[in-house]
Amino acid sequence: MLKQEINELLTQTGPGTPMGALFRQYWMPALLADELPENDCPPVRVKLLSERLIAFRDTEGRYGLMDEFCAHRGVSLWFGRNEESGLRCTYHGWKYDVTGQCVEIPSEPDERHSSLCEKIKLTSYPLVKIGDVLWTYMGDPQATPDLPQWEFARVPAEQSYASKRWQECNWLQALEGGIDSSHVSWLHSGGLKSDPLFKGARGNTYNLADRKPFFEVAEADGGLFIGVRRNAEEGHYYWRITPWVMPAFTMIPPRGDHPIHGHFWIPIDDENCWVFSYDYHPVRPLSSEERQAMKDGHGVHNEYVPGTYRPLQNKDNDYLMDREAQKRGVTYSGVKGIAMQDASLQESMGPIVDRTKERLVSTDGGIIMARRKLWRAVEALRDEGVRPPGVDVAHQMVRSAAVVLPKDQSFVEGCGDALRVRPGEKHASV
């Protein structure tokens, strides 16, 4: 249960809001690199943190992210011409470079031209390609943090895959699904047996055999480690450990030798978010079968309405609910695919869930602590200017883990270095 004012504090991320200010401390995913595939390609509309922006890649391959609308008459630059190192408004020919600087106003007399151009600059943000993702930082340029170091984005290209989907609810209820491990034994029970990116791992048998997991939450420099234990062989527990790094990064514990996957939950506005989903293997290329399975929407990925980033199963078609599959146990909820099983339920809560009415139980400890840490960081930033956890790249060097440990061992001690990035070393997984 949260008080209404705290619910609003954590769910509102537009300009001028405390939570929006917190998000503006971080580099965050803005687009997939594939969305701007070549120089002078079509520009892409992007909304982030309730700001309407346009992204483009100029003639020299530089990326730009700036105010979507021309300073002249407010026309959308989505209709613009991306040519000769700038994006030109097709209404009157005003042209902007990747920094948002106006560089041409063709209608103005030559003698006034340059001085007028200098005075016109659209709000813009840096846009940087790391891995398969284009990252932006929407905060104070004077306080720009180091570039992100997430392992999934830094391994060689053949070892990783990223996708994104539009989720039609507030970012926080989507994130909370990512740190709530107790639902896996229920909602995703069908997928553990059949999904090509999940099935076959020894850990799955523990998952399916013990539906009443115990939780342990440990604070970390960048956020939390959420450990979930289930019974394993005599004298041992099976632990699945999920790192959450503030504000919006989660990594799902691995299964066998399958790639590791996880998400970024990025606010579009207060009632929509982007879910960036990644898969990577720390020490080997993804196989062609794995990559194809990801493209086909298995694992944490999904199928799309063609030509869009909207999931094929969405609220307009009742998520293609299959009651027969539900009855037969092929899927637990009747919705196909792990990603959409989560999204369908999270969207069903409404655009922004009313947390004053919820009835949390002990297994929601991770969610309670994550909210508390967000709340504390928002206040520390707002009141004292304290840089929040997760900005420091050292906080980003985390891994999830799935291990079997003796019953008397804590998961933090038992995992040791397994919860940290170890370049060239395999992840800890059963």
């Binding site: 939780f215 939450v217 069903s348 409404g350 949390l360 139980v361």
Partner: protein, 163 residues
């Protein structure tokens, strides 16, 4: 794929902000009967302070000593109570502990909760000494175990659980 009409009961309509106005709004479900039990003297200071705040009916107690098949507790409001009596009708127990807590206290309360199918949680707050031992002691007995860096988070956790 055939386009489907948006009906009154369709997800497209049911998930809108406008439709949230029609959710049944009852003031409160049946009250949760919670017990917050300090396992050691340092934790007792925290629990006694918390007891003075407005809560939803939770009892705040301190573990005193083990008894045969039971335990003696000291309610923050004064007097004594038996663990077995406190657990009658309780549906959630939150154990608050520091590094000084005994494994025996955690074990007695945790086992009593398990025997009665009562939801149990353990909050380990920072204090003098390493919390490793108390965490190990609580682990088998708490459905969720949270190791805090700041004792100031305890009231927020209890509030979230509607103590």
């Amino acid at each position: 794929m055939q386009p489907q009409p948006t009906l009154l009961s369709s997800c497209a309509r049911a998930t809108t902000a406008a439709e949230t106005r029609y959710r049944i709004s009852c003031p409160e479900f049946t009250r949760r009967d919670s017990r917050v039990i300090a396992l050691d003297e340092q934790a007792a200071d925290i629990v006694r302070q918390l007891a003075g705040q407005p809560w939803s009916g939770g009892h705040f107690l301190v573990f005193e000593s083990a008894l045969p098949d039971d335990a003696l507790l000291r309610p923050a409001v004064g007097g004594t109570a038996l663990l077995s009596e406190e657990l009658d009708g309780a549906d959630a127990v939150v154990m608050v502990a520091t590094a000084q807590a005994s494994a025996e206290a955690a074990s007695i309360i945790g086992n009593a909760c398990a025997a009665r199918s009562i939801m149990s949680a353990g909050l380990v707050v920072p204090g003098v000494g390493s919390v490793g031992q108390v965490v190990s002691a609580l682990r088998p007995n708490a459905m969720v175990l949270v190791v805090l860096q700041d004792a100031g988070d305890v009231p927020e956790l209890l509030s979230a659980l509607r103590v």
